[in-house]
Symmetry: D2
Subunit: 359 residues, 4 copies
């Protein structure tokens, strides 16, 4: 119901996005979208890529005097800092761990300039579009969607303090861990290598009843959305893989008139939101764009060595926090509207028990 359609490549003229299904009457200007774009933007600290992307988003349609009209919202971000020359020497080589090889095999042609469509820069459009969803969910349903870095390589981080997340370069929710992260990243950058990360995202205030029972389950759509983020290799809802070793008596979240006693379900039961916090965790691989040489083949299948030059994130996971928040917002917004469509006659009922907070 709330759909986004994007276009654009890292070294093309612009990225664009069309948002269909946005409810009318929502106050909306570029300023509402720019904040998360800036959080995602490269070049913010020495721990992320030093590419300069201005990422200035323009709203081209769908609003009148700062209010949404219900018609499609067109967004545009023009590319300003493309250095296509960086990529000319890998034109006929497939970088290991990249989509170079699979694009070539699929299409018989590929845009070799900086990853083309496979570049994570595409997520800027999703972050911009999700800014609309976030605002609607916050204003109409008091839903708050927040994420944080939960692990960087070997360093696990606990959710100590939500307010800390915005006060360091890592989206780290534990101020005492920031120095350790800095040291790790400095050493990593020096080595020329890269590292994976875990990001957690939480939505508070989701009312019970969102999601479809079988195919378009809320958790299934979240899994798809998260796995569609570049570099993500795993997704968990609630207890996730820890569920394997939990007994039924331990995993099932018992209920009291005051609320649930635990949240192993991660806020989703039978594909439908329970009113508890929706809790998602994702694993991101290390970027394959590293300066250390690796074995590969060229377009004729001949052996070769490749070394990625250019400017890249040593840990793409760091900047993934606002992207993961964005994807969760897009899924929730879609299910908000879907639920209203089918269950508008009954949806006003109050929850039988409150959705207990984890925090």
């Amino acid at each position: 119901m709330f759909t986004i359609t994007t276009f654009g490549e890292s070294h093309g003229a612009a990225y664009g996005c069309v948002i269909d299904g946005c409810p009318p009457g929502l106050a909306l200007t570029e300023a509402d979208l720019q904040g998360d774009l800036d959080r995602r933007k490269p070049g913010q600290s020495r721990h992320v890529t030093q590419r300069r992307e201005d990422d200035v988003v323009r709203i081209l349609s769908g609003t009148l005097e700062g209010v949404t009209t219900g018609t499609p919202i067109g967004l545009l971000i023009e590319n300003t800092d493309q250095k296509s020359k960086d990529y000319s020497d890998i034109k006929d080589l497939f970088r290991p761990g990249h989509a170079d090889y699979t694009y070539q095999q699929k299409y018989g042609i590929r845009d070799y300039r900086g990853g083309g469509r496979a570049s994570a820069r595409e997520t800027a459009m999703r972050v911009a579009a999700a800014g609309i969803a976030k605002k609607y969910l916050r204003e109409k349903h008091a839903i708050v969607i927040r994420g944080y870095l939960a692990q960087l390589g070997p360093i696990a981080v606990s959710l100590k303090d939500w307010s800390a997340v915005s006060q360091n370069d890592f989206f780290c929710p534990d101020p005492d861990k920031v120095a350790e992260l800095e040291d790790y990243m400095n050493a990593l950058r020096k080595s020329g290598d890269s590292i994976g990360a875990r990001i957690n995202v939480v939505a508070e205030g989701v009312p019970p009843g969102w999601g479809e029972p079988v195919f378009d389950r809320l958790d299934a759509d979240i899994a798809k959305a998260m796995m569609s983020i570049n570099a993500v290799k795993g997704v968990e809802i609630g207890a996730g893989f820890a569920s394997i070793e939990q007994k039924g008596t331990e995993h099932r979240d018992e209920m009291m008139p005051e609320g649930f006693l635990s949240n192993n379900a991660g806020g989703v039961l039978g594909g439908i939101s329970s009113g508890q916090e929706v809790v998602v965790s994702l694993a991101l691989k290390a970027t394959s764009s590293i300066h250390l040489s690796g074995k590969t083949v060229d377009i004729d299948g001949k052996p070769a060595e490749v070394r990625t030059k250019g400017r890249h994130d040593p840990c793409v996971g760091i900047r993934a926090t606002p992207i993961a928040e964005a994807m969760l917002a897009l899924v929730l917004m879609d299910h908000c509207l879907r639920h209203r469509a089918q269950c508008g006659d009954v949806q006003s009922q109050t929850p039988i028990i409150p959705g207990k907070r984890n925090s």
Copy 2:
């Protein structure tokens, strides 16, 4: 492109399914579908629920003299062993960990008889439908899709021998572990509790080029499909959560003219198949249908105790193996057709390097 639409509740008259998009000219009879249905069927051993479901599937349309005609294929499984009386005393109670509460909140009404639409019995239709996909993929593309139990509670199992999987009650690929699994399950059943599991699924022979770059990535669609299986709480592709601690030099799968040197990607790069094995792992929670009493509330929010009677799987993960295979088959079939639609002009090209086998 290859879509399935299902209906049915555990205690209704029948389950049904419509398959749209099946290519014409495929030899197909009920016998092609019954095999996997029988693998999924309850009552096969004492380690799974003792419900008797005959699960006899009928093909109602879409074939002529045993060959698909290209028109929608209708499947039907009639319910024969419904004991609705088992559920009457939980009509107004919400079983913890079940979808009872969320269905009631979403729809203002729920089918309290055995889980209704939320019952895992619905997956029988997906397994039946996937039988068509499996057969097509095998005959036209020599793709083989197989799964196994990789962990049951605390007991991890390695892939020793594919042929062992069909020779025990657990889909266990290591014959030496079967006795340990038996003992664990016997003790568990005695305790009245249940346990989680991990299932791995592998598709061999997928050609490079299937999957869409951004939203409908092959891995994203697999994540959604797997998370739509009842009780699944986590999904991994390739190295999955282990990617977090891998460095870029370790994770990236280097390439040689003879093939890839590793398969951390799990056969998907940039959302598109690479020609390597597609490797998926999923975590299933313990069933919440256990005989041990738990705290809950009733439909008025009053505190209550609930104890599930009836016949249930102490480990739903065991029977999930054919279901996970089915979901992977459905996703691959869909992307097979999608790829042909867009890239039919170029798809005949041979792979530049062979997709190296893991096994």
Copy 3:
């Protein structure tokens, strides 16, 4: 949002349908659906085909104790009067005007028994499914959807009296024309030929605001729905083809506080319902299943003569009235839910002017 998926062939085991998106809480039993099925059913008078189709529909899922639960509704109609032998001699011939040739070319195989999937018998499932939509629209929105025969071959019929429609074999709204229609059909049947017809359908009570502006316009979706009925070759909304010769001053429906002064628009402006009656007209060709021999080719392209035996409608348009009503109901139901999804926040506003009735 309200989607139907059907399967079945005229000489297969059964027709089936899955309805997704039906709101929960609607009282629904088979009796609600059987009435329109009986109106559509062959064998009701000597002017339509003498095939006996019992067309008894069963609801297999989606209701509990006679109330919809919000989960998919499965419908099934078993085929009971198939005479496959009637068709054996046309197995390798293409009947002119039928889909025989196009199915063979598309799929490389075709179900030659009575049209297979191309048989108008498939519309029984749409009529059954639409019974749900009709009931919901009537109960929640006081929408009434009715159709009538407006022309049969050379005989045009005016809407004199809605109540007359159900009192003759032709859905004719002018009692004084019935005898003329009888005579025409008797002569036609004797000649062995068939004839075309025009059906009009009207929906009263549709509130303003349903429909999407550009692609999924209400009128566009109606056009598609009507053209998807077998034998339909033309669709008009409101003034339709008469608009060509109307000047702007004549066509535009002026507005007064008491309502619109005319309804050339047919209740749709800019793709969105205006609150006026939605008025649709469709042209149906004469059935090509006639007893008079015609030129054709066989499967090898060799010239041949073909004569359809079996039992067929000399005017398929007669029975198309309930089908056209059904298609309009399905489109309106879908847009009812879509509108609620996007515009649920503002949809309660009252119309600025009343939707004037034509009648």
Copy 4:
């Protein structure tokens, strides 16, 4: 499969479009799209609106060095000649025959500047997008899609000569009728009124087998596409409404080894292309943007008079020819890819009989 998503309003910053599913490897530059845009463009003659829209399209993504890559193609047309002041005095009035009233009722807000999203200017994006489809269909399948004015108010025009169409301001296929059309339009413009029109569109070379049997029939999708064009009130395929009075022996197109003997079907049988010319006819109403005053109400339901100033087409039908061609191209392209998806295994077979040309 070949989907277009558009955004933009007549007085916003820009119109945009995303094309998903375009096959890779197609040579494509802006020049391929500009031709049809120029044919549709206003200001070309004194018979159409004198608004100056430069309608210069830019390709923002999806090509590399002038060849499609298979990734989404983004198109942008910036608005340059918006005179928003023209519309300030109708801000709170509903122009009869326009979408003003229905947008206000649907969304509770409307962009009153020149029709906003309801403006026919949106079709520029569809024409641009269809340029890609037209080129692909022409190059890969030798399909030619052409349209012409078949009637303007009371003046019917016959298809005398395809080459005449591009040699007058009316897309008139009969050079002898041009003077009469000129005179009619001069008188009409002087009167301040507007008039309807009929446009015919023909696709030659469509192979047999495109289209889906029941819902997404080729003719149903064409009907939807045509009815989604602004001002269209009726659609016919083949014999269309003339079918009503045709007998079965007359309507059915008999077949010979040399081809069909007639084309009443308009190239579609059972929803699937037959290999004959696809023949479509559409009725366009007179524009409601006229200088003659009319009765209406204001936003509070109070009676009012309204007179549209600004620059408008006295006959919007004239410029609809390239738009109708565009919509037909988009539908055919989509079904081309859909057919390949499902029937790729059998699609290479040659037609059993040639698709006879009408002309």
